[in-house]
Amino acid sequence: MKFKLNVWRQDNAKTAGRFESYSIDGITSDQSFLEMLDVLNEKLVGDGKEPVAFDHDCREGICGMCSLVVNGRPHGPQEHATTCQLHMRKFTDGEEITIEPWRAGAFPVIRDLVVDRGSFDRIIQAGGYISVRTGAAPDANAIPVAKEIADRAMDAAACIGCGACVAACPNASAMLFTAAKVRHLNLLPQGAPERDLRVMKMVEQMDAEGFGACTNHLECEAACPKGISADFIGELNRDLATAILRSREASKNASAGG
């Protein structure tokens, strides 16, 4: 197979980027998209040029490192798959393919197709955990969790933190990512003691990082390689409203109690 590639090239966050075009030939339909880029890079190195930098690691759809917008779609045309799981059989011979990085203010470009997703880590730091010291845990079966609840928590926990939801959203909102973590932990009895603070802090951090607001486009759900449901966003909003009400109630009681 033969393709014309339009690839985003950018030296670093401070310089302007541009598209460069490359022709590539001899690709087979069994090859993965990233293996096609490997071939391009081998060729560029051979020609004495700098290869295209892109993030990737496990190449089996679980680490969340790969992050390409292919023909305008985060992770490309295949549903429920990361870029590394995309194969060239999804494209037609001779097709023109445009490859860009995630585009969002909160994900600055480091080089070419590589972006900085440190903002996601900071959202987790704000409350995406259960405070349990190593060694302080009760027996695992001491806290039963109904199967439906555990399964639903697992549905949310399946998020790989790739950022496709942000890249797909016209507002570059991180609501699906944040909601998935909030709901994974808030659904479980282990997460209950910190549920109000968790949701308030994580949403606050998300705003502070410069992610946009959610206006229900649901592009995030469509782009998510793990099929995380946008229902979790509604549930986050409910958790957030309850948490705010409860915290107002608590501060009223505290001042009244004086």
């Binding site: 670093n12 490997d38 890079n41 590589v114 695992a140 697992m154």
Partner: protein, 642 residues
């Protein structure tokens, strides 16, 4: 130099408690004066950094990925073992210990394995409390499955994403400490040198992968939790970035490398399809619980469609050869058996390097829905990659490199022979002997990180004065400057070769040599040949590699070239170790040492030891140190799965 394992003595069930009591403690007020470096943020490193931060140490944690959540532990699918006996099926700490000592083919220390089985209980409690969404039964209690040939159900799991969920648990604990200020996280940083001053590990030199900046970091102890070296084979199930650099740099600074030839070839991976292939994908071993492995009896049938081969013409070779365990024999046995049938010309698929893993019978017995519930995500993954629907046609699988049991030598405290240098998880050699059992890697990573290192590192630190107080080592110390200079010089030389071949092309060629000569079967002749070819390839690398770009910017080719350069040295040591060990044990199969039935034959008289290699310089023969293994509880005997 005699190796001191520091294993406690006495009744095995009391050893760890006794040892823990004897370990020195660091006063809580003094803990914040000590700085600890953790390299790697997977299950072992992430758990260690989080726990040491909680305890009050000042921790610096490093990973090459853009976030600690992406460490390769995330890709583990099947599950994690623990001797909880929640199923009331006769499991116990002693049974997990026993199964492991036998399963690793008697090439691990009894004391270490027992401790691992003991702390397996705490791990599950810890993870459940962190919110790891383990599979549950309708009553709300934890579910288990049988895994990897175990005859009890002791494996805890979270769908096919157990590694991911356990890692996210450790990651959340780590990020909590980052927020608390006790851990400083350095993502996109690669360790390129160990700093040793007066014989003690005192820091590391790193390269910031974003902008190429070289940094020196000093500390009172250095913990390496940098995973295994399976990518020496080029094609493996490891992530693309997995490498040996951190441990290899430490090895060249004096740390002994133990049992480097003990590598695990996993039986159920998707076969190789073409020359362009960059990595292999594992299909969880749990599939063998319901899938039956077969090839045609007659090599002439191998190009027929599987549906056209009648039952009578199929050879369910694992069920035939190992009636007691059938399709559930341990990984090393299953992999070798697949190689045997493919060598006989009965392998299926392109190139004849594949065997069928067939779900027809279980789909008939349990229904497609049940199979989808158990393995849906794996079937989907297989479908994506191969464009074949495993509900309709049998999967094709072939063994692939998956895990490395060898690693830096450590004592019972997980400290290497370099004082102050600790090694955890897959990066050390300690608990899996010559063959790791399924669902044991996650267990060991978390055991080391959560429940061993927090105690043992304190014992070491209590005996040294912190840098923050003693100020005996600074960035201007001659040894520190020399380490930094060595890194700069090496990067410069890689960039200056300006030859004709890419780092990947050398990596592929090295991988082929190691796979052919130091893979599933090893022979004296093959290994000797490899020992000629690898140094020659290394020489060519240093005169003909091409690394474009500069060292002062993000440069993935430079990163790759540095890693390949280290693999080119490690590969030689692996072959040397394999040649030296003229016995078959676990994943190490020497053709010269087999039973009449073609099974692996151990030689306990001569080889019941850990081989720990001391580096003497590139192109010089390393020195072998032996640590004898003694078995007081589990009698040495030939493994049998018949």
């Amino acid at each position: 130099m005699a190796l001191q394992s520091k294993c406690p003595t006495g009744p095995i069930e009391q050893r760890w408690d006794k040892h823990r009591f004897n370990l020195k403690l660091v006063n809580p007020a003094n803990k914040r004066k000590y700085e600890v470096i953790v390299v790697g943020s997977g299950l072992a490193g992430g758990a260690a950094a989080a726990t040491l931060g909680e305890l009050g140490y000042k921790v610096q944690c490093f990973c090459y990925q853009d976030s600690p959540r992406r460490a390769h532990s995330i890709a583990a699918q099947g599950g994690i073992n623990a001797a909880k006996n929640y199923q009331n099926d006769g499991d116990s700490v002693y049974r997990l210990f026993y199964d492991t000592v036998v399963g690793v083919d008697y090439r691990a220390r009894e004391s270490n394995v027992y401790r691992l089985a003991q702390v397996s209980l705490n791990i599950i409690d810890q993870c459940a409390a962190q919110g790891v969404p383990f599979a549950r039964e309708y009553g709300g209690l934890l579910d288990n499955r049988s895994f990897g040939g175990a005859q009890v159900s002791r494996t805890f799991y979270a769908r096919g994403q157990t590694g991911q969920q356990l890692l996210l648990g450790a990651y959340s604990a780590l990020e909590r400490q980052v927020a608390a200020g006790s851990v400083t996280m350095h993502s996109r940083h690669e360790m390129l040198e160990l700093i040793v001053v007066d014989g003690r590990a005192r820091g590391i030199v790193t390269r910031d992968l974003k902008d190429g900046r070289i940094e020196t970091h000093l500390a009172d102890a250095v913990i390496l939790a940098t995973g295994g070296y399976g990518n020496v084979f080029f094609l493996s199930t490891n992530a693309m970035g997995c490498n040996v650099t951190a441990t290899w740099r430490a090895h060249k600074k004096g740390a002994f490398f133990a049992n480097p030839c003990f590598t695990q070839i996993h039986p159920t991976c998707i076969p190789v399809k073409g020359d362009y292939q960059s990595k292999l994908t594992l299909m969880s071993e749990s599939l063998r619980n319901d899938g039956r492995v077969w090839v045609p009896k007659d090599a002439a049938d191998r190009d027929k469609k599987p549906g056209e081969i009648p039952e009578s013409a199929r050879d369910y070779y694992l069920e035939r050869r190992y009636p007691a365990f059938g399709n559930l024999v341990p990984r090393d046995v299953a992999s070798r058996a697949a190689k045997v049938v493919c060598d006989e010309g009965r392998g299926v698929g392109p190139g004849g390097l594949g065997v069928y893993l067939d779900f027809r019978d279980s789909i008939q017995r349990l229904g497609q829905d049940k199979i989808a519930e158990r393995y849906g995500n794996l079937f989907e993954m297989y479908h994506h990659i191969t464009d074949e629907d495993p509900y309709k046609v049998p999967m094709r699988i072939y063994p692939a490199v998956h895990y490395t049991m060898g690693g830096l030598w450590v004592d019972y405290n997980l400290m290497s022979n370099v004082p102050g240098l600790f090694v955890l998880g897959e990066a050390n050699f300690s608990d899996h002997g010559a063959n790791r059992l399924g669902a044991s890697a996650l267990m060991q990573g978390l055991a080391d990180g959560y429940f061993v290192i927090p105690y043992t590192v304190g014992d070491y630190l209590a005996s040294v004065k912190p840098i923050s107080v003693a100020k005996d080592v600074t960035k201007d110390h001659a040894d520190v400057k020399a380490a930094r200079k060595a890194v700069e010089t090496r990067l410069k030389s890689l960039l200056e070769v300006n030859g004709k071949r890419t780092a990947d092309s050398f990596h592929r060629e090295l991988g082929k040599i190691i796979w052919d000569e130091c893979g599933m079967a090893r022979s004296e002749k093959g290994l000797r040949g490899a020992l000629e070819r690898i140094p020659a390839l290394r020489e060519e690398f240093w005169s003909n590699v091409r690394v474009p770009g500069s060292g002062e910017a993000m440069n993935p080719e430079l990163e790759k070239a540095g890693r390949v350069a280290d693999f080119l040295e490690l590969g030689e040591l692996m072959c040397r170790d394999a040649l030296d060990r003229n016995e078959s044990c676990g994943g190490h199969f020497r053709e010269e040492s087999a039973t009449d039935e073609g099974e692996a034959k151990r030689d306990d008289e001569k080889y019941c030891y850990v081989a720990a290699w001391e580096h003497q310089g590139v192109d010089k023969a390393p020195t072998l140190h032996k640590e004898a293994l003694e078995f007081e509880y589990v009698k040495l005997s030939q493994r049998s799965y018949k």
